[in-house]
């Protein structure tokens, strides 16, 4: 099964789950429509589109072939970053984990502590070597954000 069909199956499951969860909201009548009507219509619409993607659309075609806007892809002219130590997709997955962990520890550690850790981890995952430069970057970014938003503008930080 191709990538698009997996996506369609995922969307269909999401639509079914949404429709099931929406059953608790009354539909009432067409004269006095209830809060369940919009979820019902939206859920059925997503289910329909998912079936459309699964059966008719099949594998994605280039935009210009579908009559849409052309897609412009450009190969980089020279390497810009030092070669990553680990596969790039794994790096992104590690970053996802770091982000989830960040929100989990945010109430306990506070904005400053957790954000410094987040910037250190993310900059190292992006290829910034050593510990000094990530640490300086983290203190700079977090410090500027705190000064600008919390101190000067009075914007509350988590």
């Amino acid at each position: 099964m191709g990538r698009d069909r997996w996506s369609a199956a995922g969307l269909a499951l999401l639509a079914i789950g949404y429709l099931l969860a929406g059953r608790r909201y009354p539909l009432d009548t067409l004269t006095t429509p209830g809060p369940g009507i919009a979820p019902l219509v939206a859920g059925l619409a997503l289910l329909g589109v998912a079936i459309w993607i699964f059966i008719v659309a099949g594998p994605a075609r280039p935009a210009h072939a579908a009559g849409g806007l052309p897609e412009i892809r450009v190969a980089p002219t020279c390497p810009t970053e030092s070669a990553p130590q680990r596969p790039a997709s794994r790096t992104a997955l590690l970053m996802c984990g770091a982000l989830v962990l960040y929100v989990a520890v945010l109430p306990g550690l506070g904005f400053l502590g957790s954000s410094v850790a987040l910037v250190v981890v993310s900059s190292r995952l992006m290829g910034l070597e050593g510990w000094w430069r990530p640490a300086v970057l983290a203190l700079g970014v977090t410090g500027v954000a705190s000064l600008l938003f919390a101190r000067w503008l009075g914007v509350p930080l988590p």
């Binding site: 990538r3 698009d4 996506s7 969307l11 949404y18 929406g22 909201y25 067409l30 004269t31 006095t32 209830g34 809060p35 919009a38 979820p39 939206a42 859920g43 619409a45 589109v49 998912a50 459309w52 993607i53 659309a57 994605a60 935009a63 579908a66 009559g67 806007l69 052309p70 897609e71 412009i72 450009v74 980089p76 002219t77 810009t80 970053e81 790039a88 992104a92 970053m95 996802c96 982000l99 989830v100 929100v103 945010l106 109430p107 954000s115 987040l118 910037v119 993310s122 900059s123 992006m126 290829g127 970057l137 983290a138 970014v141 954000a145 600008l148 938003f149 914007v155 509350p156 930080l157």
Partner: protein
Amino acid sequence: MSDLFVALTPPNLLACFIGTVLGTVVGVLPGLGPAAAMALVLPLTIKLGPTAGLIMLAGIYYGAMYGGSTTSILVNVPGEAASVVTTIDGYRLARRGRAGAALAVAAIASFVAGTFSVVALQLAAPLVARAALAFGPAEYFAFALLGVVLLANLTGGSRAKSLAMVVLGIMLSTVGMDPLGGTVRFTFDLAGAQAGLSFVAVTAGLFGVAEVLATMADPASTTPVARVRFRELYPNREELRRSVPPMLRGTVLGFLVGLIPGPAATIASFVSYGVEKKISRHRDELGTGAIEGVAGPEAANNAAAGGGMIPLLSLGLPFTPSTAVLLSGMLLMNVTPGPFLLRDHPQVFWGVIGSFYVGNVMLLVLNLPLVGVFARVATIPPRFLMPGVLVLCVVAAYADNNNLFDVWVVVGAGIIGWAMRALGFNPAPLVLGLVLGPVLERSFLQALTIARGEVSGLWASGPAAVMLAAAAVAFVAPAVLALARRSAAHPV
């Protein structure tokens, strides 16, 4: 009209200046689009008050339109979708050593088109606002539905996928209280979700956090920017002469396209390029590095950006992610865009329009001499830039409602947005679905109630019937055309 001069007060001038500079920088940075940048500074603009805050947001929107052309021309990487077509001839001009000329023509074209669209906006918006007073729920529903269908057709790539994203956005908009009865839906007993999913958190996640993850997953996608020498900054007389007709054509065409619901700036740039390909005196050179290929599309996308403000200011309906953030900003500042904006908040309305004039002048002054400086922004390595984007996303999401749930939303939206990109789904229609969802639901339910449950009440009025018919045609036509093409290619 005297409220136009509100834009010239020092705080508003400063807001306009900061907005245009920020917008230009954002436009220069590939990936971080104007919608994400506007969402990131939303907490800051709320502190400035409605007029200065909206002037700053509008400045970012216009500035990004200007700045987006810079990386298109210099490195063939568009800063945002509306600058994609500029890469075709702009980059080839840069490779021939005419980068400066292309950048200057792009800036001049943007200025001319931006100024024209402001004048037209000033004249048209009050008229449209008056006409919009005749709009009832059925007409709003039909117009929003037409926008959704056109959007699915025109975002490029798979139509079904775009439609799926719009519907998903509408589904997400049903989280929280329903717009009519106040019933709390799909919160799963999470107190933080009762107010619904924060638009700022979703946008910052889908565009900002997802961009960071996408850059990590594909480090080769970042491209270095060539430096432009000062003496290369200006076009010669021949280049200027050749730029004028496409610039004027692109301006008028872009403004008209901007009035149609959908991603107007992007479409306008492609339509303008298509027109130049057909009627330009130098049409044979287009695609090989013709200045017409820069002047026309750049004028068109900026004029369309102005045109796109009309449905936003007059009807309260945004059809691009950027105008959706602008709408969100207005609502957060207790300013409701729509037919009554001019009556209830004349200073905001005319102040924002007045700032467009000022902003266009500032952008020209900034872009012509500082284009080389802006180009250097794009040379900041992602490993320094992206961690800062993450922190900004968190601050923007939390500051919207002081709600930790929104920080979970920004992270969740970022991870989902990255997965969407990997699977070939464009997140922009989802954002618009999220914004248009409550409009669609409210107007649909109100129209049904007014028509005493008769579904035919949705198309009882002439304008609603025309718009619904147009939506039906726009929905069916691509499939019919594809079938016709297929049967023509393989006759029985």
